[in-house]
């Protein structure tokens, strides 16, 4: 109060009432950034680590060395899974608003990150996601009914009602259980990759965390162990500009791009237009191949924008201009891939509409199916008894006793 201070305080570019301002975002034209060999040294990669890798140009064509050269079938699959993710998110948000589920969290605007990355990895690669990577599940073919049941905490819930909605896992699909604790999964991914190397298997691990989450110590732990043991892992930072109300500058984002955080540890970094499906795919493929061939870990920053609220508990109009998403320079990942397909003549507005309707219809059916397993309050119910399972592999006596007590007080 009144006292002069010379502490530096990072600033958000715009607050409610201000005009959105993305002048801080350094970008580069599609195709402009060189593609090093996958076994290049960190030093060799360093010159491009801060540059924004892009493949989809303003004219909707795909250009440059990072173009993964996907066939139209793959592109349509990618579009389909991104659209699935978006529609799913919208439906589940509605379900939350209607009180059917207790909580939800969308990934709107960031669909390319999860979908393109999952497609660039092998199904046997192990994924350690954050809570905003639902696209991974779709891209890997998880039945949406499974995800819905999880959000409903019902009798079909893979978590047996134990986790908040969206904190999924999918063992068969090689997707690790999602924690509420930010960044905590990152060293786990590195350890998984270390084990793969120890066992001389060639599966790799990939993990995701947000811009804000890079502040956590576990991000450092992950980079350090990945560096020291040259673990076959891809560490992905989804920089969607915001961590709840906190602009990424508070995680040091205005002091240097997140992609460069590992350079001092010899972990090469790539920075990619996270809304450019092709660029994300190309970069991920490069990093995955690098890891798989024993050339070491990569840190990938995916530049995107969190188009929706942080979660259903959040109201972003309190802390950022409502219109930021419209002004976001890197556009909408779905629109951009769609236009590319249209430009290639491999897609039409009619097909797009049909796809949209098909997905909506599918989700409607899936939702009905999921409801058949009950909701938090209606229909078939999990037994509260089950909460005492899985604390340990075998239930110790004190938990059996507590279960007994619960039965008594609930009856």
């Amino acid at each position: 109060m009144g006292r002069r201070s010379r502490l530096h305080i990072p600033q958000a570019p715009a607050r409610p009432g201000d005009r959105p301002d993305f002048s801080y975002l350094e970008t580069s034209p599609a195709g402009a950034v060189a593609r090093p060999n996958i076994d290049a040294t960190c030093q060799e990669i360093e010159p491009i680590s801060a540059a924004l890798i892009r493949v989809l140009g303003d004219d909707d064509s795909a250009v440059g060395p990072w173009n993964p050269q996907l066939g139209p079938e793959d592109l349509r699959t990618g579009l389909r899974h991104m659209l699935m993710t978006r529609i799913f998110d919208e439906r589940m948000l509605r379900m939350q608003r209607q009180g059917k589920i207790s909580f939800y969290l969308k990934s709107t605007g960031e669909e390319a990150v999860s979908v393109a990355q999952a497609m660039a990895l092998r199904p046997s690669d192990m994924l350690f996601p954050s809570y905003r990577n639902q696209g991974l599940f779709f891209a890997r073919g998880c039945n949406p009914v499974e995800l819905m049941c999880q959000c409903l905490s019902n009798t079909g819930d893979m978590c047996k009602g134990r986790q908040l909605p969206v904190l999924y896992h999918w063992k068969e699909g090689n997707i690790f259980t999602i924690a509420g604790n930010l960044a905590i999964q990152a060293p786990n991914a590195v350890g998984w990759a270390m084990a793969a190397a120890i066992k001389d298997e060639d599966n790799i691990a990939a993990t995701w965390l947000g811009d804000g989450s890079t502040a956590e110590a576990d991000f450092h732990n992950a980079l350090l162990f990945a560096s020291v043991y040259q673990a076959p892992v891809v560490i992905n930072v989804t920089n969607n500009q915001w961590a709840i109300s906190t602009f990424q500058a508070f995680a040091g984002g205005d002091r240097g791009p997140f992609s460069t955080r590992g350079l001092g540890l010899g972990v090469p970094g790539l920075r990619v237009d996270g809304n450019d499906f092709l660029a994300v795919h190309g970069v991920t493929q490069w990093a995955a191949e690098r890891a798989r061939t024993g050339a070491g870990p990569t840190l990938v920053e995916l530049v995107t924008y969190r188009a929706s609220a942080h979660s259903t508990s959040d109201d972003p109009s309190r802390y950022r201009p409502d219109s930021e998403w419209d002004d976001w320079p890197l556009g909408d990942p779905i629109e951009r891939l769609k236009k590319h397909l249209l430009a290639l003549g491999e897609w039409s507005e009619r097909q797009h509409h049909a796809l949209q309707s098909e997905l909506e219809e599918n989700f409607k059916t899936a939702w009905q199916e999921a409801l058949g397993f009950g909701t938090l309050t209606q229909g078939p119910q999990l037994s509260p008894d089950s909460m005492f399972d899985d604390v340990f592999k075998e239930m110790p006596p004190h938990l059996a006793k507590q279960r007994q007590l619960l039965r008594k007080t609930e009856s």
């Binding site: 958000a12 909580f103 604790n181 999990l382 619960l406 609930e410």
Partner: protein, 334 residues
């Protein structure tokens, strides 16, 4: 005032009175905190007194210690008590023992605020009550208020205290008292006598337990949300209970507790945290030490089950009135 407003008022008073008070935390500045406890304070006192921080609890507490050593009085908000673990090393190994190991040369009057407890469908990482862990750490005080009036008075005292304080806020009580029945319509603090909170600065002493209701048949030791559950349970059972709101878990007001149990001869302990090695263990151990010859029945513990807080079974997990009543019956019958 509700508890959020009371906490806000406490911090407002302290920022106003003491230029060395600074607030730190994730989303607490421009936004005013995810629970709105710091709403308006950055606007009033500036970005250098109310700091948004990176999401690094260890760094937050680590830097707060340094700030405190340099004369400030930082109040750190951990967004959820469940996320305090990355800061535990700084709390245990530095904050709590600075004064002792430097023989009084250095100390750090840091207050750490953290919303705790369940009942808001937060699932296992937005519901934890980790107080027991910190009561085992020598050199840090552990406080948990159960109503807005206490919350303000205790928070002011915590900030003014020259020892570090962990200040746990039962988030289920932010907007109103809660008697453990989620099906009843929510009530606000407006009707509650302790919802009346002066705008002005006042402190309430740390280390003092409060008697909430007086009675002869049994002593109930509790704190936080469970205070209200126990009051309702005792009323429902029609038992004359001496209900003690522990308020400060460490250092503990053993005197008040012992006097009550020596009088009633019966004791029930209730908290939301998991039972095994929960703070109820220390309370039970202390009571049996201090009141053994007065006890007419075994001390009963009511607590969260020894499992993570499960999202779907929140109300089977939460130690509600039924469980308190069952324990009261055992304590009274024998």
């Amino acid at each position: 005032m509700n508890m959020v407003q009371a906490l806000n008022s406490a911090m407002d008073n302290m920022l106003e009175r003491d230029p060395n008070v600074v607030l730190m935390g994730q989303d607490i500045g421009y936004f005013g905190g995810v629970f709105r406890c710091t709403q308006g304070l950055q606007g009033k006192y500036g970005e250098h007194r109310v700091l948004d921080t990176p999401i690094a609890e260890g760094g937050m507490v680590g830097t707060a210690i340094g700030m405190a050593v340099n004369g400030l009085r930082p109040v750190v908000e951990i967004q959820f008590a469940d996320y305090i673990y990355p800061a535990i090393d700084q709390i245990v190994s530095q904050l709590a023992r600075l004064r002792h190991r430097s023989a009084g040369s250095f100390w750090a009057p840091v207050t750490i605020r953290a919303p705790c407890g369940g009942g808001i469908r937060g699932g296992q990482t937005h519901s934890q009550s980790p107080e027991s862990l910190f009561t085992h750490i020598c050199g840090i005080k552990v406080v948990m208020p159960s109503n807005p009036y206490d919350a303000k008075g205790l928070l002011i005292s915590a900030i003014e205290d020259d020892d570090p304080v962990l200040f746990l806020e039962p988030k289920r009580l932010y907007n109103g008292p809660f008697d453990g029945d989620p099906d009843k319509p929510a009530v606000g603090w407006g009707e509650h006598p302790h919802g009346e909170v002066p705008e002005d600065h006042y402190g309430l002493p740390l280390g003092i337990a409060k008697t909430v209701t007086q009675g002869d048949a049994v002593t109930i030791l509790t704190y936080g949300t469970m205070v209200h559950v126990c009051v309702a349970a005792a009323r429902a059972l029609g038992v004359s209970a001496d209900i003690i709101d522990v308020c400060t878990m460490a250092p503990l007001d053993t005197d008040t507790i012992a006097k009550s149990v020596q009088r009633t001869g019966r004791c029930v302990i209730a908290h939301e945290a998991t039972r095994f090695s929960g703070f109820g263990a220390e309370l039970a151990a202390t009571v049996q030490e201090e009141c053994f010859w007065h006890l007419n029945a075994p001390i009963q513990r009511v607590a969260g089950w020894d499992t993570p807080y499960p999202h779907a079974f929140e109300w089977s997990y939460f130690p509600g009135q039924n469980r308190v009543i069952a324990a009261l019956k055992v304590a009274l019958e024998s």
